[in-house]
Amino acid sequence: MDKSTMENSNEDLDLFRSIEYTGNGFYWTVGFLIFVIAFGLYGYFHQVLYGLGVTGMAQPISWGFYIVNFVFFIGISHAGTLISAILRLSQAEWRRPITRMAEIITAIVLAIGGLHPILDLGQPGRMWNLVTNGRLQSPLLWDVTSITAYFAASTVYLYLPMIPDIAILRDRGVKPKWLYQFLSWNWQDTPEQKRVLERAINILMIMVIPIAVSVHTVISYIFAMTIQPGWHSTIFGPYFVAGAIFSGIAALMIAMIAFRKIFHLERYLKLIHFQYLSTLLLIMSIIWFYFTFSEYLTTFYGNEPDEMRVFNYKFIGDFAPYFWLMVFCNFAVPVIILSFKKTKTIPGILVVSFSVLIGMWLERLIIVVPSLANPRLEYPVGIYIPTITEWGLFAAGVAIFILGFLMFAKYFPLISIWEIREGRESSIKEVAHRLQSYMPDTYEEDELERALK
């Protein structure tokens, strides 16, 4: 290690705190989370033993919390890699402390969300049938394929930019040594190595964007490919993608605010980062409203009886409280709080983020349940009251997410150290150069003469 890196590593000492220092709070939190997960697992074993009857699902409403949470979790997972890739691609300098956290969210939540359909199976033991007898024409198989692809791509996309940081940890002698040696892939920060890594990251970030978009589009297709009222809609693909990014940004900001507080990262995650992200959130909120509006306006104007039954169920029927709460959470709260500079503070942003998460979860519920509750033929309208098993597994899902994030923070830096250093060292020069290239061209001397003639 030469002198300059030594200085730098002292400067970025805050970023190692989560790895090198473990407080009592960590163990208490992990213990609590494991308890919640154990409770959820108990519920699941109960369900496997007795059948799906232990849930609140019933005859017309044959999909409930598991599918809602599946869509919700996959939605959250979207923010990460997609935002990070877009920010990297657009060379936004303020991305540097954010990308890593965004990517972790993707990797962890995708794993949780991707497993949710298994919770929903009546015969989980027959999963192997998907391998031997799967049908690629079923939207569920599209999901299996695209989630696997996204998971593979996003873990690689999380891992590659982490290699230099792992090498830094290796050189600091952080334990377990073998882990960092194993994962650092012999990184020594040579210019050639950097070139290889950057080239790979560049290819990957371009590849990951269409995969990310495809994942949520395909999830919306689960619903849109059926001919059920309220589901059979061409807008569902982009609607779900927009909603996914929307909820993902909110989740990202909650994670950022929490870890900023816990590990004292105020020097890295500044108000400006949150303000930029919350502007993005505000834009997504308006886009979300636009999609929701066009989705329901077409239904309302078309006035097709079966569609209208579902529409009324949502607007004035049993689901009206949830529906209007969703509109309040997803549109009113973000627009009101984020429009004013006075309220666009960290606490304000935290409130908005939670509100958006709740609102987006409600949106998934409002998409899944009402269409099933109102069958086309004259059956009685169904009811759905989730049981403790479903709530338990929902809580366990959230707990696994937090636990995964904590464990990650225990072993790897949550903020990309080398990217911060790179930014500090070279980005001002680079941005100045880039700005220069945006400027209108100045005439060369002879050109000037010619122009004057």
Partner: protein, 232 residues
């Protein structure tokens, strides 16, 4: 085996004749070992019927017009449920019957969500019968395990037997050789069953009558169950 593909099994239900007695529902339950769920479960809307009766009311009391629609699976020629099945546990066979292969089903319930007629039921718990009924289960039909989707199969086990018998006697399948339990048991002969491809069959003639209509025909699912509308 009989050459398959030249039959297209269908059903015609005459609403004029149907009294809503529920004999078809009971016959179906017994014939197909459809589970009987307890009071608690049925409160939760988990009753299981392969053949159900949908009752519609029109007009205000006392001038109410009540119509009973016996509702089996409609065995669509263009079924929305089979398209979405991830494991080929439900598909339309060569003779137009939308079958349900219970040992293959993983219980994702996608077909239930996709069926516009809501005809499918799910085994939320392991099926259970009162003690004295266990010995009277139909051995020709499997008892479904917990966690699979099931629905009316047009009593396909009867078709398997009828075909076999016809071939053993070295003759073609005749009309009436194969009748589902509901059709056979209907006391008012409201449910006719037969081959829609056979120009001389009763169902073919009835299906072409002016009174014939199908449920939610506008969806393009091409159901093979026809109703004959009520006339005064």
């Amino acid at each position: 085996m009989q050459e398959s593909g030249n039959h297209r099994w269908g059903m015609v239900i005459d609403l004029n004749k149907c009294t809503g007695c529920g004999e078809c529902v009971a016959a179906c339950k017994v014939e197909n070992n459809v589970a009987i769920v307890g009071a608690e479960e049925s409160e939760m809307d988990r009753t299981m019927f392969w053949m159900d009766i949908i009752t519609t009311h029109e007009g205000e009391y006392p001038d109410t017009e009540v119509t009973y629609f016996p509702r089996p699976c409609f065995h669509c020629d263009n079924p929305p449920c089979t398209k979405v099945c991830p494991v080929r546990a439900t598909y339309r066979n060569d003779e137009g019957i939308v079958t349900q292969i219970f040992p293959q089903c993983i219980g994702c319930r996608y077909c239930m969500a996709a069926c516009p007629y809501t005809v499918k039921s799910f085994n939320w718990f392991a099926p259970d019968w009162p003690e004295e009924m266990n010995s009277s289960l139909n051995p020709d039909v499997s008892v479904r395990p917990v966690g699979v989707v099931e629905k009316c199969t047009f009593c396909i086990h009867r078709l398997q037997k009828a075909k076999e018998l016809a071939r053993a006697e070295d003759r073609e399948l005749r009309e009436g050789d194969y009748l589902p339990a509901c059709s056979e048991s209907c006391p008012t002969d409201a449910i006719s069953f037969g081959d829609l491809n056979d120009p001389h069959s009763e169902v073919n003639k009835l299906a072409k009558s002016l009174r014939a209509f199908r449920m939610l025909e506008e969806l393009g699912t091409e159901p093979k169950v026809y109703y004959l509308s009520k006339v005064e």
